[in-house]
Symmetry: C2
Subunit: 523 residues, 2 copies
């Protein structure tokens, strides 16, 4: 397939009229062809009109029809073969194995949502049957199902060009819910975006769905991004990116006459707690695990361990010493974009003003290479300075030394909302961990024991979310099958004749759903 540099508005390929972007290969600092001219209000208008026109038909596709569509997208992505892999590598600087793994995850995610759609639990069918004889008043027949919110605008992330981008989790879960999707492509990987976008558009065509089910736009945040979020036909937003970007989208959505849900995954430093017995027993192994998690993918993960919290002790000194021995052997790694690299440098410089540099990775040998950093500070300094808990996107982490358990708690209460919190503990640490748990549950969406936060499983139980600023809506997850719930709302049907009821609610339960029937869940 030859890349065209064009947007996809329904089944139509269209060139924008605004400033063009080209991807830059961050490993060589060279631009990649083709140019992607930015879209404008007209393209947003056209994509929204198509999405709106497609909505009523698409949202009433059968469970099977919708699941098959999601599977077709996965098949089409796989059929792109090496072309997709090569382009993603060129646009991101990420290693081949990582991109291949990410493709597997992306396709697996689409298929997981296909299974979720078929299972139908997301419909949350509730039936309260009529009680015509009830005193003092009869009860009507009341039936509830969930329907999709409407067309969804998706803003992909730079750091997962497949799994969190055009055909990523937000798109997959919104399509699974029955929402048409309009993606604004991330400027860092427009070619990868075009390939994935075409895979989706082909699946739309192949499955005989209305073309407005999917569109892909390129362009600036103002010309396309804000225009999308403020269009009255857009009913929800999925976003993964910076805190600044996420907050701007939330504000735009809130300023609408009809405010809409924005699911923005933004910022997290993912505290890692090293409890005394664990640190004493296996400090070296913890240090090695930590370095691996910190430096994986140049640290460009939302769940990168950016904060280590522990009691001052010789065991902690040994941990810092081992990390400080290992880190200088870690090569600098190409970051995703020149902008991200530059922001990392700025973030590291800012941290260095407030914390001691304990160790650095090997210096850069090419353009846009981020050098790992370990900082150390005292809890009292951490508590005194809000800036030190700003996310530094990349392989930088800060160790906070606490004097006692009370200070560990104080530091924890002081933290902003997080995607994850990790506890390294041994049997003897359980009481301390138990005491801290309520704080961590209030602060984070996922809590881990004796693992590392990088690596987010796509499954039913996953929560990739958390209180602000981790996300803009802690009631949800953007990874895992529960992500579908973000794009639904309940509708109740009272005294409907069977012929007028949606299939999911009909008397005979033709979809064999486990309904909540008169207060009891069906087996």
């Amino acid at each position: 397939m030859t890349l065209t540099g064009k947007m996809l508005i329904g089944q139509q390929s269209l060139s924008g009229h605004r400033d063009a972007i080209r991807a830059i290969n961050p490993a060589t600092d060279t631009p990649l062809e083709p140019a992607y001219a930015g879209g404008d209000g007209e393209h947003v208008e056209r994509a929204c009109a198509l999405a709106w026109a497609a909505f009523d038909r698409y949202r009433e596709t059968t469970l099977e029809e919708r699941a098959t569509f999601l599977e077709a997208i996965a098949d089409n992505l796989e059929a792109l073969g090496d072309e997709l892999i090569e382009r993603a590598i060129a646009e991101t600087g990420l290693p081949r194995a990582r991109i291949q793994g990410e493709r597997g995850r992306t396709c697996g995610q689409l298929r997981a949502f296909a299974r979720t759609v078929r299972l139908g639990e997301w419909l949350d069918v509730r039936v309260d049957t009529a009680q015509p004889q009830r005193q003092p008043l009869p009860r009507a027949d009341l039936r509830q199902r969930h329907i999709p919110l409407g067309p969804v605008a998706v803003f992909g992330a730079s750091n997962f060009p497949l799994a969190f981008s055009v055909a990523g989790g937000d798109t997959a879960s919104a399509l699974a819910a029955g929402c048409p999707v309009i993606v604004k492509a991330h400027g860092a990987h427009p070619g990868t975006s075009e390939l994935a976008g075409r895979a989706i558009a082909q699946a739309v065509k192949h499955c005989g769905l209305p073309e407005g089910v999917f569109s892909l736009l390129y362009g600036s945040g103002r010309d396309v991004g804000i225009a999308l979020v403020t269009d009255p036909r857009i009913k929800a937003v999925g976003f993964t990116g910076s805190r600044t970007g996420g907050v701007a989208l939330c504000q735009a959505a809130q300023a609408r006459p009809e405010s809409i849900p924005v699911y923005a995954e933004m910022s997290s430093i993912n505290p890692v707690y090293l409890f005394p017995a664990a640190l004493e027993a296996r400090g070296e192994a913890l240090a090695e695990g930590f370095v691996a998690s910190l430096t994986q993918g140049a640290g460009q993960f939302c769940t990168n361990p950016g904060l280590v919290i522990a009691l001052q002790s010789t065991a902690l000194e040994r941990f810092i010493k081992v990390v400080s021995d290992r880190l200088p052997r870690c090569p600098a790694q190409t970051m995703l974009t020149p902008g991200i690299f530059s922001a990392y440098e700025t973030g590291v410089a800012a941290l260095a003003k407030h914390a001691r540099v304990a160790a650095q990775g090997l210096p850069a040998t090419g353009p846009n290479q981020g050098q790992a950093h370990l900082f150390v500070t005292q809890a009292k300094d951490f508590l005194a300075n809000e800036h030190v808990q700003a996310e530094v996107f990349g392989a930088a982490s800060l160790v906070v030394e606490c004097t006692d358990a009370a200070q560990v708690r104080q530091v924890s209460e002081h933290l902003e909302g997080q995607l994850t919190a990790t506890l390294h503990l041994d049997e003897e640490d359980l009481p301390q961990a138990h005491a801290l748990l309520p704080v961590l549950e209030r602060k984070a969406g996922r809590l881990l024991v004796n693992g590392w936060p990088t690596g987010v499983e796509v499954c039913d139980a996953m929560v990739h979310g958390g209180p602000f600023p981790a996300t803009s809506d802690s009631r949800s997850t953007s990874v895992g099958t529960a992500a579908i719930l973000r794009f639904l709302r309940p509708v109740c049907y009272q005294d409907f004749p069977d012929a007028l009821l949606p299939t999911a609610l009909q008397q005979g339960n033709p979809l064999l759903l486990r309904r909540l029937l008169d207060g009891r869940r069906e087996a």
Copy 2:
């Protein structure tokens, strides 16, 4: 029990220092003792501090403990006997039978949430067991449950002094979810609020819960309302009232550094569709049913039928004629407050500028009595004027005459979001109703066939919600057991030892929950 005029901050009774309010008996326009001096920032601070201190303990009460607490509140409300009934009648002008029925509903609601808590489905437990041998990477053990958001601020409604007020649906569902609640009492029924508040505070004490689980404040929107919504310890808001009030709370919540969910139920005119065959076959019965629904409780229902949509026809003329015969026999009814009465008069006058007055009820014979009104207009005029779809809270309704089915659809698409939409239809009308259904599903939270929207059942399947401006968050309902879901967020526990897991997630499933276990729902 003697009313004290004091706030309840935890177990403490405190007097405010700001301007005092007295309830006014709207039937006689006379003020009622005692005076309720308004609270200020200090009282908000104290209530929030107590709520925050109570949160970690209260949210880990067992299902049984929490359910028993909700039942104790219901018992205490009933134990108030006639004192509660008398005071509510005096403060609202509502008839005795209505207030007695509302007490039954309020207590039934608390007990329904107790059952919901015990059932535990709201925990949405999901377990993905470890797969240590999985290739290329092992899978961790991942378990998800829901935890409450945190302390909730509740703003009661004027029109349901029991069921949507201090011990009403918002409070019951938030307490059921595990959230401490701080209520700002509605100024229209402070005495009823005090009685209900004491019933809750006594249950808190009786059940040995931390006192911060419940507080009741009096005061102005600015001194107490906005101060509550912007306090960082408040994590969600429940509100039932005017559009202006709801939007103001939403804006205050959005302006916080950490924006929080606001569930505001605000404004709905509840379109009623009269399809041709039904109108032809039983126009008179429909007219009588309509008048009864319109004038019930002086029309002071969120689900009052404020709009009737039908094709121009002799059958519609007959319907209007019958309503116009009946309405002049309907007595004017005392409205809830002088302010609501005055707003009703203003709303009726505004409608009269744009639509023909077809009929009026009997004129007032006492203070604050609202006179029922029927207006008629043409679809083209309805479409041309945004103002005519503003809610007029009271017994006023507008008939919109359409020339054809296409215009019915056009009027429907033009509607703002609604709590309900009602279809009166016979067998022959089914195709037309079917064609309109997708529009109505997009517009409203509850759709009814051959009934009237007033009367909202408290059950599992109920949806009392809908797109803006019906509510500020269409993903939820404020009536029915699903209302508990508004106050929860998911947390995932990865590789936790059983000893550290919350009971709901432990290996042996001690709470006997129907978990989503490795992709399958347990029987």
